[in-house]
Subunit: 334 residues, 6 copies
């Protein structure tokens, strides 16, 4: 797909000033600017898994612009240029491209854990489901290879923002492990509903819709959201399970699972289409919140790699996802 | 379906003290009480389109109780009894029953307008759709006879609460007439999206789900809600339109319609799964709100029939749906 | 009023680098800066209907500064200068001035529609008022020529911010047309109150107060607001109508109209002095909101002229007036 | 005005079971009920300064009902009757009446302090105003005898609800004394604006409007409110002062005073038409809040006369005006 | 302590109409009423672990009244009386009393689990603390026998309201088990801080203060709250540990533990004195919330013993502690 | 402590471009940056009572960095350098230092009023306390010399932000004077509780904790807050008063004072650990709010010294502490 091979792929973090470069990159924030005399030009951010840099392409027709994805992937050739103490990429050639799964792993940050191993753990927890209809439903999902590929690949948070490939799988597995450990403390909760609900709660992030082949997934994410998406997907999978497996679901079972999915954000102002209104929905929502808040807090206060910009001070920046609080970083017992 | 014909059907409003009665009624708030010595008894409300009275059945097993619908319809025989200045119904026989459409019209309050005429007006506005895919989609919905029957029958608000048969149709028609009149003032709004969005926005209230035959519709309403239900229904109808009519929807068209449906309550705290985020979704949500608020305000301040309990005073009771305000009733120019 | 005629009036959009210019401009954000060695200088924005540029005047006494309006109009002479890739105006002479109506139309953006025609339509809708007291009251307002001139001239939103001359008239006319079209659907609303209420609801934006001749209108706008202003104006006009026309208003009529005016922003947190508490006040508030939200949404998502800075991306910037949402711009059926 | 003198006026607190009574009473919550066979009857509360009792009149035409005030005063004859352990008044004759000021003092609870003395203290604080325009404005208000009579009579809170005659004067005087004592601590506050602002802040509660002679004052209170009313009154009084006294107000002076009046409730959600936005407006609003909250807290926690219904327990009922808190009553140092 | 032994102690649930009874009871809502002729009488609720009934004592001086506890324990003799279909207790003799721990277990509902066993489990989890200063601090707490007795006895929620003896211990143990199970998933959390924080988070509910011997504990609970109480207690225990054990705490360690205690309610509006601002404080707050919400949801939707008053219907009453939601009760897979 | 005396101490406001400087400064916002090639450098702000400038130290090891206080005091030598139109300090030598009280007065802005005189006034108001236990408690506080020194020195608001030395004393004295003047208007308030409560309400800002010698005070301020700190301090002082003076506090007295302290911010969302729930706590909270809001409003609208950046315009910047309002600055009567 690359038009010319004369420039070699260089990682963003390896680029120096005034170098030729070429290869695939993720593109973000693509916008059309106009110079003072009215000529259009392209402004965007180009990234791979090692970093991100601003880019400009000075001659750019509107048609060319509209062929580019707003958030997606491109093949690019050009040259680096120092600008205001930073590097900037001056682009000569830019074209949309569809990365393979392997290319994706080069272009986007990814989990450091073994994806196959994590997936196997999820499957083995699903194996502990007891109710035959739930077992059949899980089987239908697991048999959907394309969906499971996306489940293994998807980030837990929005494509390309503070998230990484495999994040969805990693987050789902952590939640399943938590409930596996603590469900014995709550014998009145239905374990199958909790386990199935957690497996499904974020799956809407991966969905492909037949009637909307060319429509941007992330636009659909904004307009519909993965909660409603997940409920629609379950509607299809339940029908498919009934047809294919001859299973009859107990009355209310699919409704209660859909309810877990569309309510798991807890409060309408956090995106829940309904507030959680069964014991299992409340439990799923709380477990999800526990993991999310803890992971965010640890990422902010005790990051893997010390970030350059907040070495000093005992408090982090304000954390939007934690009611805008600053966190105290030191562990006094460490 | 009635076990014995020796008692004649009497309207609630015609009942006097110490009379035998029998016939079909709507039942609500069915609860099991216990007398001081621990015997279970049934407490409920029985109603028809003319009124509502409290009822008791003194001998009642739990099994019998669980066979009754929480909100639904029953055949009843018994006797009236004065109690604390009101009438109370003492029930001898009570059984679940499924009313026909004609029986329903006896049991529930209904619109005073001609349902066939209103439906014809809706159809004729749908006839003005321009885009072939929208025309095909409307055709699919209109061809679903069972759905259209429910659309003509359903109340606009919750079954049996301050609402009436045909209310959904009446409300939908009013909205379609409003936009038909004022859309010329906003030429940049896509008329097809607005008209189709309004036709579909409340249709989720009518849905029957194959995998949940015996599950209570109103329970599903609480747990899933008619917004998400309407989006799922459109998912099915779009697929059906593609298969049956060979139509290809423009990218994003179904997403944008689903967005109108799940966002039409305006704010998440009012039940929207997403806040309205297209010009058409905002417009639909505002028109719906305009009609709802105006109808509620007029019903409270200028009711058809003077209600006994607030003849006096210039202000109404507090209106929950209007931020708990009291409304000033007089029209000083009248 | 201009001290020297040697420089010709040039539109902002026509100015090139290092040119002499002179003429009348709107001034905004006038502030006094101080250079590092403490000398005061003037920083401000100068605009006409074609655009806006930053300006500086390097020698500036405090007295001269205090003679300038904070938001208003000035005669200016000076020279353009490129600065950080933009043009900047270096001012030699600056003086306050009072533009005529014709000059105003040069200095501020204005409606593209015919003001006389729009005003005639408003008058003809007022002609349909039925109650003699309302007819007399409308006559009193229409007879106030200075007020009607301001009504034809005023923008709908704050002077000089994302608004244009004639905007108030345009907005009022749209609302009157909407209610003219849809009031037949709500026969219990008093049409006279709705029409009169809409005619008056924003008129407070134009008011001149005898006891405060030299006081800045926009300061009064901040401290009192056009809602209370409109209620005070109606207090005067009602008294004048009684005196001049010998009209006696039905009890409560003026109160109910004042209530419509002071409540039309809907909620106290949006600026309503009282929440709307009559059916007509609720209706007026909802219609106003419908038009405002729709116009804002269309202006953001489907602007007249494609703006340079957001050609790309399917979503707009966050819209403060729409609960800070981003809007999806494409019309999938277009 | 009383049709028959054969029954003597008895105070509510003196009435025993099965006694004839007659005389003037305040009426509240007048509503029309219907008996089971559809006959209308009157339900209301009758009170004088000693207490309040429920009343019924069993034969009552709608015309008679509509002649009665919703909240106001009536002449009544009838008989007491025990009902559910309480007394109830069975009315034979009921007619609207207009009490004289002396009768009012019998019918409504009143301040225990000397009204003339309190008024004299207010006048003497107004005498300390320095600016000639403020002095002239105060003179205009004080010269309006009807207004000053109402100022001396009016309760601080809503007519007939937990408030008493003279309450407005008492509250205003307390505030003036507070600021007289503490203004020396804030020399940058303009004393005249604060004193004048406090004198005027609640005066809107007393206003009579020429164009609305027969319209209920309390309905206008609900629809317009005493904040906007007070600003309209100042509009008139300022014009009158200019005409009568030849005074010219400094630019902005009346606006700033009107701003104090319409903002003194502090936040829009507490009824302010604008949030207080000058130092004097903020100070007035805070002083008003300080006195209001303290008086409410003391009345709840340390009432003059121990109330029968909460002798026990260390905490009061929840106080709506104090964010629904319960107050701890004991003074541990007492 | 009982004045007369002629009446035998009967459980509330065993009492029938018109029986003599006598013995110790918990008293709540003690209030002084007045009969119509002004005589004071006592109204209160009397309860033991089997139930609760209303009680009256018709002759009651104010002095006697003030000797009774508002919420506490009394010895009572009297007679049962049917009233409005319920039993009521007519009291002859009532006196304050101080129950022993054994008597308490008769008077208040209690956990069904083994208190000694639960306490041993808490101790064994505390044994796993690693840091010597934390070990020493735990030792100081465990050595305080009076405190540990109260820890074993105290309910988790407010004395006598929907709570039971041993509830605090049961809740604390559940939380410690949860974190013991899932802390390995979050290796960056300091385990000692989490375990110690959870052990201490609700201990403030048990505190006795030397300077306030006779002051009601529950009044202090209302005015200070167990969060601040727990922080004060830790202040003392830390000082004691330093003195007694010669331990030096790492800088910030006690502060961070106090922070966990005063922030564990999550948001200020839920009673947190500071929002949780360390990873451990966030984690503790989330785990506490997870258990509290789950326990409340299960208690409401799947109670131990079917309650008489809501046998019917698929939804519970509104749950105040769950944002006032109604919960769906059925488990569709059961 | 200063390593070299060859550079003389210069005030920030006296520094010119390219000068050597040296001396003690307050340091704030110390952060570690990294240059493009990864070398760490120090970014911070240095200030004394005359102003503040940005500073950089280009070679900086992490160990050196971690020895510096985040907010505190340092000895610095270096050179000024113009940068983007401002001065910047290029640091050669930087070391932590502990300023004496006299040095502090050079480094931080300070009250202009006489600290000894203000303190004497506070003492003389405390002399008017009546209850012997309150007198003894005041004596204990006044006898704590280290605490009283801090009380005289501390700013009222956060160290180094828009606050000044002596500010706490100044604010406390103003409040005591206000209540001294207006308490006679509220005879049911317990004067001792109000006076003592105000004396103590902000004292927590000064506290030193024995178990946390080296722990940053401002970190503790963030995590615990001065409200809870003040309650803990009172816990200690009450115990000390009991021991040293043999005083027995009336039951509830210390609780009620602690309640005043932890509730004085009024609402939980403003930092109160409990909402004020006694008349005295409400009064203290309101008086504190009155002074705080008035002082903030006057400082914004009528500052001592005209600030360069807002000479123009009648409105201030938005004031975060006043619900983000802009204030109108002119006094129209001035």
């Amino acid at each position: 797909m690359s038009p010319a091979a004369k420039t070699t792929r260089r990682s963003i973090s390896d680029l120096g000033p005034s170098e030729r470069f070429g290869g695939s990159f993720a593109i973000a924030n693509a916008q059309m600017g106009r110079t003072r005399n009215g000529d259009p030009y392209l402004k965007c951010l180009l990234s791979d898994k090692t970093g991100r840099l601003p880019a400009r392409k000075w001659s750019m027709s509107e048609e060319m612009f509209h062929r580019l994805p707003t958030d997606g992937f491109v093949y690019v050739e050009g040259q680096t240029q120092p600008y205001q103490g930073e590097l900037q990429l001056i682009v000569d050639i830019i074209e949309p491209m569809e990365p393979s799964v392997d290319e994706l792993r080069e272009l986007l940050p990814a989990t450091e854990r073994d994806v196959d191993d994590m997936f196997a753990q999820v499957v083995s927890i699903l194996d502990t489901l007891k109710h035959p209809a739930m077992k059949a439903l899980a089987k239908t999902y697991l048999a959907d290879e394309m969906l499971m590929d996306q489940f293994r690949l998807a980030p837990a948070a929005k494509m390309m923002h503070h998230a990484y490939l495999g994040g969805l799988l990693e987050h789902t597995l952590t939640l399943l492990k938590i409930v596996d450990a603590i469900l014995p403390l709550y014998p009145k909760l239905n374990r199958d509903l909790v386990v199935m609900g957690l497996f499904l709660h974020d799956l809407g992030k991966t969905r492909e819709l037949v009637y909307d082949k060319t429509f941007s997934y992330s636009d659909r994410g904004e307009l519909i959201g993965h909660l409603v998406e997940g409920a629609i997907m379950l509607h299809d999978k339940a029908a498919q399970t009934m047809r294919a497996e001859g299973v009859r679901f107990p009355p209310g079972a699919i409704t209660v699972l859909q309810h877990i999915i569309i309510s798991h954000h807890g409060l309408p102002e956090y995106g829940a289409a309904k507030p959680p209104s069964t014991p299992e929905a409340i439990f799923v929502s709380q477990v999800d919140d526990l993991d999310a808040k803890t992971v965010i807090a640890l990422a902010a206060a005790r990051p893997e790699t010390e970030r350059a910009y907040d070495l000093g001070g005992n408090f982090t920046e304000r954390q939007w996802a934690l009611q805008n609080r600053k966190l105290y970083k030191p562990d006094p017992l460490a």
